[in-house]
Symmetry: C2
C-alpha cells in the first residue's frame, strides 16, 4: 500500500488542490483508494448529506447553487458532489450546467466536484459514498449530492443521503413520472421548482394524493420554489434543517446510516466476489459457453458448474 | 420442480394464452422459471433478435409498429418485447404508447408483451433473455426488443440483440447525448426518425463524424425515417435484413451469441452468489455494521470478514 498520508494530511487540513487529488485517487480505485478510504472513514462522521434529484431540466443545479448560499450564511462549509453517469467527463466542475456554481469558486468554504465516470471502477453507487467520506473527513459540515441523470442508479445515490430532496416541475406530468421512477419513495422533501408556471396546483394536488398512499400518510412536505429568483429557497433550507433535527431527535438518522453501511458492505462484497468469479472461470467458461450455445447444456446448469469451480459448491 | 410440460406444450404450439402464462412464469422467477427455461433453451435457436432503443419520445414504438408490418409481409411471425424499467406495470400491452401496436392484436402471427417490472426478481437484464428464449422456442422468426427507458440497463438490453437499432431525432442534441449515454457503441444501425424536421443534416453529419472515430471507421449505416408516415421504413427493414445476412456470412453472429451466453452466465452466477452472501451474513452483518458505524472498522476490512464467512476466504 502506497503512503497516502502526506497527501491526506494536506487534503484534510484545507489544501483544496490536495483534496481534489485525494478524491481522484478514490475515484480511480485500487490500493490508493482503499488507503485513503481507511483514513477518512476513521476521521469522518461530522458531515450531513443532502441528496438532490429529479428529472433532467428540473433546475437541480440552480437549486443546489442557492442551497450552497443558504448553508454558507450560517458559516458552515459545503462540499458538493454532482454525479452524472451519462457524461464521459469527471474531475473539476467542467460540466456546462455546473458553470453557474462557479460563483462559489472563490469561496474557500465551498468545494464542488463533478463525478461522471461511465466505466468507473466499482460503479458510481460505490464511488459516491467513498468520495462523500473524503469530504466528510475534510470537515465539510454539509455535503450536497446532486444527481444529474434520472436512472435507477442516480435515484439510489441521491436516496442514500441523510435528507433527500426531489425536484419536480409543474405542467410536465412530473408527478406520475416521479412515482413511476421510484422518486417519491426516496423523497424526504418534495420541491416544486419553477412554481411560477401553470400547473403548480395540479402537481401539488397529485403529489399530496400520491404521498397519502404511503405508510407515513403524506406527512412529507411539498414546497414551492422558484430557484432562479430565489423564492422559497430559505423555506426549503429551513425544511432541510428541520428534517435533520427530527431525524437526530428520533434516532432515525442513526438507523438510516446503519442501513447504508449494510448496503455498502453488500455492494463491496458482491463486487469482490464478482471479480473472483471472473478469475476462477478462466478457461472453463469457454467450454461451458460452447455447450450452452450448442444447446446441450442450459445456462442454469452451467452456472452451477461455475459456482462449483469458484469453490462455493 | 413443478410440471410445466403441459403448459409449455400448448404455449409452443400456438396457444397464445398459454404463451402469455409461460412468460409470466419466467418473469416471476424461481423453480417454474427454471423449468420453463430448460425446455425452451433446448428448443430455441431459430429466432433473430432486433433491439430498438433511443431517448424517450424518439418514436421507438411507432417504428417498432412499422417494423412488425415489414416482417409480417414476408410471412414471418414476430414477437415483440417492450421493456420499461420505470413502469410498475407488467404483462399484456397495457402501457399507453403500446396501444397503437394493437393494430396487430388480431394478427395471430404477432405477439406483443410489455415487461415493466421494477423490483423484478433477478433484474431486467436477466429476465429479458429468458423471455426472448420463450418467444424463440415458440417459433417467432423475429423477436423485436424495444426498450422504453434510456438508462444503462436498457442500453445493455437492446445492445444484447443480434442487430441493434438506435433511434434518434433531429434538433435535440441527440447525437452528443447518444454518444454520452453509450448508445453509439451498441448501435449497428442508426435511425434518424422524424427526419422531416429541421436539423436532420446536422444530426447526420454529427453522427457520421462520431462514427468515424470508431474502430469500424464509420461503416455503420445512418438512415432517415419518418415512422409516422412510413417513409424510409422499407429501407430500414432492408438494412436490418442486410446486416443479418452479413453477420451470418462472416460468422460474427455466432461470436455475438457466444459472447451473450458468457455475459448471461456471469450474471446468473453473480446473482446466485449474491443471494448466498445475504444468507451467509445473517446475524454477523449486524456486528460488522455496528463496528463500521462506530468507525472502529472500515468497510473494506468488514467485507473481508463477510467473504470469509461465505466460505471464500
Amino acid at each position: 500500500v502506497p503512503d497516502v498520508a502526506p497527501l491526506l494530511e494536506s487534503a484534510l487540513s484545507g489544501d483544496r488542490a490536495a483534496l481534489a487529488r485525494a478524491i481522484s485517487l478514490v475515484e480511480r480505485g485500487g490500493d490508493d483508494a482503499r488507503a485513503v478510504g481507511r483514513v477518512v472513514h476513521a476521521k469522518g462522521g461530522g458531515a450531513y448529506t443532502v441528496g438532490i434529484t429529479g428529472p433532467p431540466g428540473a433546475g437541480k443545479s440552480t437549486l443546489t447553487d442557492r442551497l450552497i448560499t443558504e448553508a454558507r450564511a450560517s458559516g458552515d462549509q459545503v462540499g458538493v458532489l454532482a454525479v452524472d453517469p451519462t457524461s464521459p467527463f469527471s474531475g473539476g466542475a467542467i460540466l456546462g450546467d455546473r458553470v453557474r456554481m462557479q460563483d462559489h469558486a472563490v469561496d474557500d468554504g465551498v468545494f464542488i466536484r463533478s463525478m461522471a465516470t461511465r466505466g468507473h471502477l466499482g460503479g458510481l453507487s460505490l464511488a459516491t459514498p467513498e468520495v462523500v467520506r473524503v469530504l466528510d473527513a475534510a470537515g465539510f459540515e454539509w455535503v450536497l449530492v446532486e444527481t444529474v441523470g434520472v436512472g435507477q442508479v442516480e435515484v439510489e445515490i441521491a436516496g442514500a443521503a441523510d435528507t433527500t430532496v426531489v425536484v419536480l416541475n409543474p405542467g410536465a406530468g412530473d408527478g406520475v413520472q416521479a412515482m413511476k421512477a421510484g422518486l417519491l419513495e426516496v423523497a424526504d422533501l418534495l420541491v416544486i421548482n419553477k412554481a411560477d408556471r401553470p400547473g403548480v396546483h395540479e402537481l401539488e394536488r397529485d403529489l399530496k394524493a400520491m404521498l397519502e398512499l404511503d405508510a407515513d400518510g403524506g406527512t412529507r412536505p411539498v414546497l414551492r420554489v422558484v430557484a432562479t429568483a430565489g423564492d422559497g429557497v430559505p423555506e426549503l433550507w429551513q425544511a432541510i434543517v428541520a428534517h435533520r433535527a427530527e431525524l437526530e431527535r428520533s434516532g432515525a438518522l442513526a438507523d438510516r446510516r446503519a442501513a447504508r453501511v449494510v448496503a455498502e458492505l453488500r455492494e463491496i462484497v458482491t463486487r469482490r466476489i464478482e471479480a473472483r468469479v471472473l478469475d476462477a472461470c478462466g478457461s472453463d467458461i469457454g467450454r461451458l459457453r460452447d455447450e450452452v450455445v450448442a444447446r446441450r447444456l442450459d445456462p442454469w446448469t452451467a452456472a452451477d458448474e461455475v459456482i462449483e469451480a469458484v469453490g462455493l459448491s
